[in-house]
């Protein structure tokens, strides 16, 4: 029995061996020729043509003739021929899958064009800031199905040259041509009177741009020169010419950090379009070229924003605001060996408060090892303001070398008024009045974001006649809310509502009085009573009372407990009254600071939804866990209070949430002041009376 099994295996391996060795004969024959193919190569090139014709069905001759040609080719080339055919078949299939995610973007007056890529099935699409800039609040988008849709602006990132828009599902013009987009009929619904509505969109699949290597094959899809009258995207191919490139900003805007350089044709109109890897994964957003003296067309050096940077910013863009990039509050320069060393630091920056000093040599930043100043600039450039990153550095004290690891919340490059002024200057005179013309002075960066191709003058004059069309149509008005300093507040409302509705812990407090009991940091028993008027902490050695007078900034803090009781009061107030009572807004996602305890846990890699607002004059941020599956409730993981006289924020960490008879409660509340543990409550019982 066993013998037979082994025999069968022997035969199997022998067959495999023959199959494996077969190519050696075919290829070794070819490689016995001179290493430089001359005539042979031309023949295989002909073979390639034949294959293309065969695959695309453009062939003038029928299948039979192609077969004959194939047979007439020398045997040594037949395998190469086969590979080419297979390769091309795969390429055609791949591109057909990618096409439906492509977006052609036009301002309402048709004065320019750009590209974008769908990233969700509910119509969110990523593009360049400089594509949306001439569009204003809303724009027209063409998809590969041949239809025109309306889209509304969601969020803008002028520093990283990125923007998020949302395409609305109603078909405005055209008739769905599913043969072109290759999509299923089920994506459309006919609403009568020949009107069509999309049930969903086909998003691109995200890749990991950190895995991109020089020499990787890539695809550029987009709408160069506005060629695509039926919105079928143009395709160009090439390789990755360089990774982790840094392209300088214009002053502080339009900086391309850690970007991907490609040699595929990237032309005006390709801006905002996707860069795909050979597997069809989205790895970048094309947006910039080196031009100099060559004129503003492809010169074989295009730059794409890495998709990992976009990923960091996505939730921030969804918040409906102008997002800002991050700064460390310290500058870094090369030492004599070219290594990055801190040469200046702002005294009140979080980095300084957490212990970074002049002369410290940076080893790693944001999880990436850093060897040069350029690498540091690259990594810093991909994070949004408010992101929390680990920094590893060495400090030399005499002959001793100390290794340090800190986590720092990065501050913004710009102040809020600066960003708003920039927005007014470039995006339109006032975001609040979308009927106004876009800014007359377009941004002239030192580098070269792709220009929007010119539109013929007579066309422009024609469009002038339809100026009234720029008035916001009702379906856009339904998803647009103007607010001073915001791009589109409608989307912030949506996100804030989503986070709040997922929260489960609201019921832990009682309207009149809530009492919590347990042990504190010293191991003593405590009782915490919270009423609308006061918060009372009873401990064995002393009681502390805080009266809630509404405005926290006017009251003097109890010296022994400082922000402890006001903080707990803010937690209660927020949970009872909700984000709207204190005008909390959605900030985006962020990781949490590392502590010595959680530095190597899954927790440090998790992202949390952040709401920020002001309770009684204190700037407050709440970090919410993201539901692991739809319908599952989220928890408040952390609350942060900015203290008024500068310095590190107070951190309240809530863990071990569990259901009790009085509601959903944290088992443990840790309070950190100045980065050190200040108090720790182990809650045993608590909630409404």
């Amino acid at each position: 029995m066993e013998k037979r099994v082994f025999r069968i295996f022997s035969i199997f391996f022998l067959l495999l061996a023959i199959w494996g060795i077969a190519p050696i004969f075919t290829v070794s024959e070819a490689s016995s020729n001179p290493p430089v193919p001359s005539v042979n190569l031309k023949e295989s090139a002909d073979g390639e043509n034949a294959a293309t014709k065969n695959e695309t069905g453009i062939a003038a001759h029928d299948e039979h003739t192609v077969k004959n040609e194939e047979e007439s080719l020398p045997r040594k080339n037949s395998r190469a021929f086969h590979y080419l055919k297979e390769e091309e078949r795969q390429q055609i299939d791949l591109l057909a899958q990618l096409t439906p995610s492509l977006v052609a973007i036009y301002p309402v007056d048709g004065s320019s064009c750009g590209s974008g890529v769908l990233i969700s099935d509910d119509g969110f699409a990523v593009t360049n800031f400089h594509v949306v800039q001439p569009c204003g609040v809303w724009m027209k988008c063409g998809l590969a199905d041949g239809c025109v849709y309306h889209a509304v602006v969601v969020g803008l990132d002028p520093v990283g040259d990125a923007a998020l828009i949302r395409i609305l599902p109603e078909v405005q013009a055209g008739r769905p041509n599913l043969e072109k987009s290759g999509e299923n009929e089920a994506v459309f619904e006919e609403t009568g009177e020949g009107k069509w509505v999309r049930r969903g969109f086909t998003p691109a699949k995200f890749g990991d741009s950190n895995q991109v290597r020089q020499g990787d094959r890539i695809w550029v899809l987009g709408n160069p020169f506005s060629f695509e009258e039926d919105f079928t995207p143009s395709v160009s191919s090439g390789i990755v010419s360089g990774t982790h490139r840094y392209q300088y900003p214009a002053e502080t805007f339009l900086e391309y950090a850690d970007c991907i350089q490609v040699d595929a044709s990237v032309n005006p109109g390709n801006s905002g379009g996707p860069l795909f890897n050979a597997a069809g994964e989205l790895i970048g957003i094309n947006g910039r070229c080196s031009f100099e003296k060559r004129g503003r067309i492809n010169v074989g050096a295009g730059y794409a924003i890495s998709i990992n940077q976009i990923r960091y910013f996505l939730s921030h863009l969804r918040s409906g605001r102008v997002v800002d990039h991050a700064t460390l509050g310290a500058t870094v320069s090369s030492d004599e060996l070219g290594r990055p060393v801190v040469d200046e630091i702002l005294e009140d920056s979080e980095a300084a408060l957490r212990g970074l000093e002049i002369g410290d040599r940076i080893l790693a930043f944001g999880g990436r090892s850093i060897q040069t100043v350029n690498e540091f600039k690259n990594v810093l450039g991909i994070f949004p303001k408010g992101w929390i990153v680990p920094i590893e550095f060495v400090r030399k004290i005499g002959s001793r070398v100390e290794n340090h690891r800190i986590t720092v919340r990065l501050s913004g490059v710009h102040s809020t008024p600066e960003l708003q002024a920039f927005l007014k200057h470039t995006f339109g005179n006032d975001m609040a009045d979308p009927n106004q013309k876009p800014g007359e002075t377009p941004l002239k960066p030192e580098g070269n974001p792709l220009p929007n191709p010119p539109i013929p003058e007579d066309f422009r004059q024609m469009m002038e006649l339809f100026k009234d069309l720029k008035k916001i149509p009702p379906e856009i008005a339904a998803v647009y809310e103007s607010r001073e300093g915001w791009v589109n507040f409608y989307f912030n409302r949506l996100e804030t509502k989503r986070v709040w509705e997922n929260l489960s812990s609201r019921s832990a407090f009682h309207e009149n009085s809530s009492i919590f009991r347990g042990t504190n940091l010293g191991g003593q028993r405590f009782e915490l009573e919270m009423t609308p008027e006061k918060t009372l902490l009873k401990q064995e050695n002393m009681d502390i009372l805080w009266e809630n007078q509404g405005d926290f900034t006017r009251q003097s803090l109890p010296p022994e407990s400082r922000l402890l009781l006001p903080g707990l009061t803010i937690w209660k107030e927020f949970c009872e009254k909700g984000p709207e009572a204190f005008e909390f807004t959605y900030f985006g996602e962020s990781p949490l600071p590392f502590t010595s305890e959680n530095s190597d846990t899954e927790e440090t890699r998790m992202l949390f939804d952040v709401l920020e607002g002001n309770v009684g004059g204190v700037n407050t941020r709440f970090f919410f866990t993201k539901p692991t599956e739809p319908g599952k409730p989220s928890e408040i993981r952390q609350m942060e209070l900015d203290i008024l006289d500068g310095g590190l924020p107070w951190e309240f960490k809530f863990t071990r949430w569990h259901q009790t008879s009085q509601g959903f409660l944290p088992g443990k509340v840790e309070i950190f002041a100045d980065g050190k543990i200040f108090e720790c409550f182990q809650l045993e019982t608590g909630g409404g009376k």
Partner: protein
């Protein structure tokens, strides 16, 4: 005994099983990898980066870049690059793929191919073998060959960052002579014309290799624009011409620079003065003004040799003169009676002249 054991083994089914398994393993190891669509470009790109050099020198104003590309051609730090105004600098800095900096000296140049050989003091440098490449390509057409071009175009890469890589094919091998009036170009031999936009600011001196990285094909030329259509040409000098040229420079047959070894040369009792030749040069407005002839006195020695105003003196007795400074130094070493061999550039033409 051994024979018996052998036969018993041969008769045993396990023998065949192991034999087949071995055959399978050997074959799967030997079987060629499918390269189409695979990561052959990435492998080549990472394998050859350490042969590339980022070169920095003079420039940085108007449309003159202060950077270009180069690559090692020997294990003792010999670098091939194009001869350009970038090298017209007191200090030429070479940055290697690991980010290390080296000061380079010019060993010599070939005015025909417009290439220069630089030397840095470093041993065991990885390099492209020009002789081998020249032999491999001799007598064959490379047209249609898939290639990768390595260069620091637009100076994108700094420090230890990898120079840019572009993929394409050799479109044709041709002489640009037919359109010499259209392109400002001196070389009369063949060049490879490429189908990718390889020739950008800073990419001159870059390396052209087959896409599998097996063979070095040539060196990317300078930016070349058609004078009428404005079209930019992407091209490279073939390895065999590069090899010839390097050989000439190394053998001293081509010209060494005026700077090299000047102290050891004997000075004549009486040096030559330009007035004696009847030559007037352009005034030295800026440092390193090129040696342009301004006036030629009629009936002078220079006039007899048909030297004309606006001629640019490139070589003086076989020695490169890059500026008026260097010309006056050369005069110091020239006897007032001796005939002089000159290489001059008149328009786009290079002419050899001898002043009796």
């Amino acid at each position: 005994m051994i024979r018996k054991a052998f036969f018993s083994l041969v008769r045993h089914w396990k023998f065949y099983f192991i034999l087949c398994l071995c055959a399978f393993l050997v074959c799967s190891f030997l079987a060629p990898q499918q390269t189409f669509g695979g990561n052959v470009f990435s492998e080549t790109a990472s394998k050859l980066q350490d042969r590339m050099v980022k070169i920095y020198g003079a420039g940085g104003y108007a449309e003159m870049e202060e950077y270009q590309s180069g690559f090692f051609i020997s294990a003792d730090g010999l670098i091939a690059t194009v001869f350009s105004p970038v090298l017209n600098s007191e200090e030429i800095e070479c940055v290697l793929s690991d980010g290390s900096h080296f000061a380079a000296e010019i060993l010599g140049i070939d005015p025909n191919l417009e290439i220069a050989l630089l030397k840095i003091s470093k041993s065991e440098t990885p390099f492209f073998d020009l002789e081998h490449s020249a032999k491999a390509a001799s007598g064959k057409t490379l047209d249609g060959l898939p290639i990768l071009a390595f260069s620091n175009l637009f100076g994108v890469a700094v420090g230890n960052e990898a120079v840019s890589v572009q993929a394409g094919t050799i479109s044709s091998t041709t002489k640009l002579e037919a359109s010499r009036r259209a392109f400002d170009f001196r070389w009369q031999g063949e060049v490879y014309v490429l189908d990718v936009t390889t020739n950008n600011p800073g990419s001159a001196g870059g390396a052209l290799v087959t896409s599998d990285g097996q063979m070095f094909c040539g060196m990317l030329g300078k930016e070349l624009q058609h004078s009428r259509t404005g079209c930019w040409l992407n091209f490279a000098f073939p390895a065999k011409d590069l090899h010839e040229s390097v050989k000439r420079i190394l053998s001293g047959e081509a010209q060494t620079t005026a700077m090299a070894g000047q102290e050891t040369r004997p000075r004549p009792e009486r040096s030559l003065k330009l007035e004696e030749l009847g030559l007037g040069m352009v005034p030295e407005i800026v440092p390193r003004t090129p040696a342009f002839v301004d006036t030629v006195r009629s009936d002078s020695r220079a006039a007899k040799a048909d030297i004309q105003p606006d001629d640019l003196i490139l070589y003086w007795n076989g020695r490169l003169v890059q500026s008026l400074d260097e010309l006056s130094e050369e005069l110091e070493f020239t006897d007032f009676q001796d005939p002089i061999r000159l290489t001059i550039l008149r328009g786009e033409e290079m002419i050899e002249k001898e002043i009796p």
